[in-house]
């Protein structure tokens, strides 16, 4: 071990590159984020609480977190179905569908926003038939939900897909030949092995949807207390020069997303410890 460490040190540049890395990381990421937390400390706990418990803030947080969770759940179910079709079945266009799963990652959010709005507006290709059924999507909370589903789908698919691909086929064959029905095999054998990946995908899709701005604001309608998301409320407070309000809402959202990343890291470590080394 010490021999390895000594040999590694023969490569030059550790001090220099590490110093540059830490300085640049501090300038671009850490100091700006620390500035946000420092700013929030200028507020007394009472002020902080008053901002957060105001009706409009509470409603914006409820819309963002509630709809993001609902959309992440839809993504969990539909993402699993998509992964199953892509990994287990052969059908025409499979590779194309596999490739387009990444579109929500790559498409700029503002473009997604105007496109979804045009699609689901009352005269849009999907909005018109839905309106005939009495369902209004664009400019209602349903629109926010749709945009959040769009933005979250690749997270579930891309975290679960590699795990299903690597799943040992012998386990399923064993379950099947021991008399388990196909349904039992899926629920009792395959689903538990995919569990950590499914939860990770759910958490990532949720985290992304909570903070999402560009693809949501066009379709949302942005009615205070009804269809106003928390990131939009931050922007509105900034434009009113109510920096304290913007900071308080941002701190709450940041803390939640840090908790989610921490949970995801934990989850992945737990998943790795569960799988015995092959």
């Amino acid at each position: 071990m010490s021999a390895i460490a000594a040999r590694r040190r023969t490569l030059p540049g550790f001090g220099l590159t590490m110093g540059l890395t830490l300085s640049w990381l501090s300038v671009i990421i850490l100091i700006p984020l620390a500035g946000l937390f420092l700013k929030s400390l200028e507020l007394s706990p009472e002020q902080f609480w008053n901002i957060l418990s105001s009706r409009r803030t509470l409603n914006a947080l409820r819309v963002s977190f509630g709809l993001a969770f609902a959309a992440a759940c839809v993504n969990l179910v539909m993402g699993s179905i998509i992964v199953w079709a892509l990994v287990r079945y052969r059908f025409p266009g499979r590779r194309l569908f596999d490739a387009i799963v990444d579109v929500p990652f790559a498409l700029p959010t503002a473009v997604a926003g105007v496109a979804l709005t045009a699609l689901f507006a009352e005269k849009g290709w999907l909005g018109a038939p839905l309106a005939a059924l009495g369902i209004k999507v664009a400019f209602t909370p349903v629109g926010i939900f749709v945009a959040m589903i769009f933005i979250g789908i690749p997270f579930v698919v891309r975290t679960v897909q590699p795990v299903l691909q690597d799943l040992d086929p012998e386990i399923e064959e064993a379950a099947g030949s021991l008399g388990a029905s196909r349904w039992q095999t899926i629920i009792r054998v395959i689903l538990p092995s995919l569990g950590p990946a499914l939860l990770t995908g759910l958490a990532l899709a949720f985290a992304r949807a909570v903070g999402e701005y560009g693809s949501v604001i066009f379709i949302a309608g942005n009615l205070p207390n009804v269809s106003e998301i928390a990131p939009l409320l931050i922007v509105i407070r900034l434009s009113e020069f109510r920096y304290a309000d913007a900071t308080a809402i941002a701190v709450v959202m940041l803390v939640v997303s840090f908790v989610v990343i921490f949970a995801v890291n934990r989850l992945q470590r737990w998943a790795q410890s569960r799988i015995p080394a092959r």
């Binding site: 590694r8 040190r9 023969t10 490569l11 030059p12 540049g13 590490m18 890395t21 990381l25 671009i28 990421i29 700006p32 500035g35 946000l36 539909m78 998509i82 199953w84 079709a85 079945y89 059908f91 266009g93 569908f97 799963v101 990444d102 929500p104 790559a106 498409l107 700029p108 959010t109 503002a110 473009v111 997604a112 105007v114 496109a115 045009a118 290709w125 999907l126 769009f150 789908i153 399923e172 099947g176 030949s177 196909r182 909570v210 903070g211 999402e212 701005y213 560009g214 066009f218 990131p231 939009l232 931050i234 922007v235 900034l238 920096y243 941002a250 997303s257 840090f258 989610v260 990343i261």
Partner: protein, 303 residues
Amino acid sequence: MTMQIADSVSLSTSEAKARAHAAAARDNLRTEPRAVRIVVIALAMIFLTVFVVLPLVVVFAQAFSRGILAYLAALAEPEALSAIKLTLLVAAISVGLNLAFGLVAAWAIAKFEFRGKTFLITLIDLPFSVSPVISGLVFVLLFGAQGYFGGWLRDHDIQILFAVPGIALATTFVTFPFVARALIPLMQEQGTQEEEAAISLGASGLQTFFRVTLPNIKWGVLYGVLLCNARAMGEFGAVSVVSGHIRGETNTMPLLVEILYNEYQFVAAFAIASLLAMLALITLIAKSVLERHLHEGDELRDD
């Protein structure tokens, strides 16, 4: 003699049949009835069509709804051209900065062992989990009129917010992890042997990096730059907060899409949007090509 041959033939065909039967039975254990398969595939295709294909198609349909001349005219507007120029400039700055950072950080993290490495990688990943709006907000709190450095900047007549530096900073923040995250696992996997050999043969550190390390990671570098660039050109939330929306000056392409859309200039809005959508499609195609090159590298190393 002939009977014997016939015997062995019939034996081998029945054996083959039995084997085929067993294989089919085993496959049956791992798949679902035909009806279930069709339903699952149909659900996946319908969902992806509604949520991914149709939004993409709508962009182009709307952009060309008044014909190709109206489309080209919209793109030739001075406002559109200045937005395109600004987007290219900002992307060049932030991709350049993040490329330099990514190479330096990946060298420190992948080629050496030290405590707190996982924590450092988590810090580099932070921007991925920060809402774009908050990524813009942090710079307003630093450099805005009421911000920590706001007074000093005003006294020295330096403009960061509502100007190119602020837009470039916010974009750099948002795209910070891309290059480093593409390079760290790749360089960790490649180890340090080749570099050590170069050093022991008398090469300098920089020579080793440019002649040994860089050729090994070139596809990874391109991959990181590609994803970084796509996000940099398409970033909306963070840029929207710091840009100030000064027409013809601080509007990037995504911001111009918003402005034109809100003014009901749909053809113009979707024309700009179509350029960004093409950027996304080209990025995805290039990404799959690069992934193939990266996997080829894996196979070569496995041999």
